[in-house]
Amino acid sequence: MNDAKSQASDDYTPSEMMIISAARALAGVRTVFVGVGLPNIACNAARRTVAPDLELIYESGVFGARPERQPLSIGDPTLVTGATSVVSMADLFGFYLQGGLVEVALLGGAQIDRHGNLNSSVIGDYRRPSVRLPGSGGAIEIAINAQRVFVVMQLKRRAFVEKLDFLTSPGHLSESDRGRRAGIPSEGSQLVITDKAVFDFANSEREMQLVSRHPGCSVEQIVDEIGWNLRIADAARLTTPPTEKELSIVRDCRRNAGRSD
C-alpha cells in the first residue's frame, strides 16, 4: 500500500464518512442486496477495497451487474446489459434471497427503533397517515432472509424514535416479541451506519449501542439525535478517519457510480 494513500485525511463530508464506514463493514462479503444511491456507492467502493469478490443483487432481478453509468433506479437498463444473470422477481426473491444467498442487505427507513426495527410505511396512523411513505417493497423479506442486515441512515432525532409509528421490517423486535423471531432465518440488524456514528446490537438485549463515533462528533451530539436513552458500548471507539485512498475511490465511485473495474 502506498504510504501517502493510507494516511488519514481530514477533508471529507459526513456523508463520505458514512459511505466509507459502510464499505469497510462489507470486508470479505461476497453478496450484498442493495438499492441505488449511497449504499450502491458504498458497495462499489467496497469492491475496490475490502471486498473484491462482492456481487450486487438488486430486487429487480439483477445479479452481477456491470453498469456503464450511474443507475437512476434499481430497475435501470444499464444494470441489465452486461449483468451475469437477470431473472424474474419470483426467482430473485425465492431462490436468491429466501434461498439464503444474500450475505448482507443494506436497508434504510424513515424511522428506526432501539432494536433495529424499521418503518418505511407511514407517519401517523396507518388508515389516516400524515405522511404516506413508500411501504415495504422487498424490505420485509429482505430483513427476514438476508443473513445479516446493515442499516444505512442519516442520524436524525425524528428518525431514531422511541416508538415506531408502524413496524414495517423486523429487526430484533421488542423483548416481549422476541419469540416471533423463531421463524426468521436472518441474524437481523448487525450494524446501523450513520453520518455521525456506527451502532451495533452486540448485547443480550439486542439493543442498539454506540460502538464508533465519527471524528468530530461528540457523544452528546449523537445522544441528542436519538429518541431513547442510548447505550454506549464499553469498547466504543473513534472511527478511523478515511484514508486518502478510500476518499479518492468513493469520490470516483460517486462521479461514476456503479461502473466496476
Binding site: V36, E59, S60, G61, V62, P71, L72, S73, I74, G75, D76, P77, V80, T81, G82, V86, V87, S88, M89, A90, F93, G94, L97, Q98, N117, S121, Y126, R127, R128, P129, S130, V131, R132, L133, P134, G135, S136, G137, G138, A139, I140, E141, I144, N145, F166, L167, T168, S169, P170, L173, D177, R180, R181, A182, G183, I184, P185
Partner: protein, 305 residues
C-alpha cells in the same frame, strides 16, 4: 392461428369494464403508459388497480379518477421520490378516497403465482414480526405439516385483465421479452384476460426460432396491440431508455393538483391516440432515448429431422 391484432382503443374498450380489476405490470421497465392513458381517455371508473410499484402510471390514473382501490407493494417514483397524486389521495382523500391493499414485493409475486397456478395460497418467508398482517387480514400464517414451524401465506390474485408490454409479439399474442422480467409472466397467467402490447409485431417464425424466450403464450392472450414507444416515459430494454427528464418533471408538476389536471388535458385527453402523443413528444426526444446496440451471443436450437 387467430389474428388478435387490434387498436389500443378497441382493446381497452372491450376488455376494461368499469369496476374491473386491472393489472399493468412491468418493474420499472415495460410500463405500458399507452394503455394507462387510453383507460384515462375512455373515462373508466371504479377500477381496482394492481401493480407492485404503482409508478407514475397509476399516479396519473388515480389523479384522473379511474380508480377505487389499489393493490401494491411500493409507492414511489423510482429513483426520484414520492408519488404526489397517490399521497394526496391517501392522506387527504383528494380527488377521492382510495382503498389500499398492501403487500411486500414477494407477497405480490406470490399472489400472482398462486393465481396463475390455481393454488389456494402461496407460502413465503416474510411478514413475521411486521405490522403489515395486522392491517391486511389476507396475509396469514400456516403451520408446516412437517413440524418445522410457521410460514406466511398470501391468497391468489386473479386480475380481470393484465396488460403486458413486450419487445416483440406475433399476431396470435405469443410475446417475447428480455431484460427485467419482473412479474409479468405470473401476472399474465393469473389474469382472466390478457392484452399484449408490443414494440414490434413479428411473424410466427421469429417467435418459433427461440421458444425459450416466449414469456407469454398466445393461448392466454385476448388482444394484441402494436404500439411502438408504448412504454414511454419508462423504457424497453434494447429499444429505448427511460425518459428521466419526464420522471423529474412529474415530481415537480404533480405536487400541484391543478398542474396535474392541466397535464392530463394536454397530454391525454387532447390527444387521440399514442401516435399523436409521440408526435407531441417529438422525434428529437425519441431519438435521444434510443441506445446503441449490445447484441446477445448467438444461440442455435438445431434442426432435427
Amino acid at each position: 392461428m387467430a389474428d388478435k391484432l387490434t387498436t389500443m382503443k378497441e382493446a381497452i374498450g372491450l376488455y376494461v369494464r368499469d369496476g374491473a380489476s386491472v393489472c399493468i405490470e412491468g418493474f420499472t421497465a415495460f410500463i405500458c403508459f399507452a394503455a394507462g392513458h387510453e383507460i384515462i381517455r375512455q373515462k373508466k371508473r371504479n377500477l381496482t388497480l394492481i401493480r407492485m410499484t404503482p409508478d407514475l402510471i397509476y399516479d396519473q390514473m388515480v389523479a384522473a379518477g379511474v380508480a377505487r382501490k389499489i393493490v401494491f407493494s411500493y409507492l414511489g417514483n423510482p429513483g426520484v421520490g414520492a408519488l404526489h397524486c397517490l399521497r394526496r389521495a391517501i392522506e387527504k382523500g383528494s380527488p377521492a378516497p382510495l382503498e389500499l391493499e398492501e403487500y411486500s414485493h414477494y407477497g405480490m409475486v406470490g399472489r400472482y403465482i398462486a393465481g396463475a397456478s390455481k393454488l389456494p395460497f402461496f407460502p413465503l418467508r416474510s411478514y413475521l414480526g411486521s405490522d403489515l398482517p395486522g392491517v391486511n387480514g389476507r396475509i396469514r400464517f400456516v403451520d408446516s405439516p412437517y413440524g418445522d414451524g410457521m410460514v406466511a401465506v398470501v391468497p391468489p390474485l386473479t386480475p380481470d385483465i393484465t396488460i403486458v408490454h413486450a419487445q416483440r409479439a406475433d399476431s396470435n399474442g405469443n410475446a417475447q421479452l428480455w431484460g427485467l422480467l419482473g412479474a409479468q409472466k405470473e401476472a399474465a397467467f393469473a389474469a382472466k384476460n390478457v392484452i399484449v402490447v408490443a414494440e414490434e409485431i413479428v411473424d410466427e417464425a421469429t417467435i418459433r426460432s427461440d421458444p425459450n424466450r416466449t414469456l407469454i403464450p398466445g393461448i392466454i392472450v385476448e388482444a394484441v396491440v402494436h404500439e411502438p414507444f408504448g412504454a414511454h416515459p419508462s423504457y424497453v430494454q434494447g429499444y429505448y431508455d427511460r425518459d428521466n427528464e419526464f420522471y423529474l418533471k412529474w415530481d415537480e408538476l404533480s405536487r400541484d393538483e391543478d398542474g396535474v389536471q392541466k397535464w392530463l388535458d394536454e397530454w391525454v385527453y387532447a390527444v387521440a391516440d399514442r401516435s399523436e402523443y409521440l408526435r407531441k413528444v417529438g422525434k428529437e426526444t425519441l431519438e435521444r432515448l434510443r441506445p446503441p446496440s449490445a447484441p446477445a451471443a448467438a444461440v442455435d436450437y438445431g434442426t432435427y429431422r
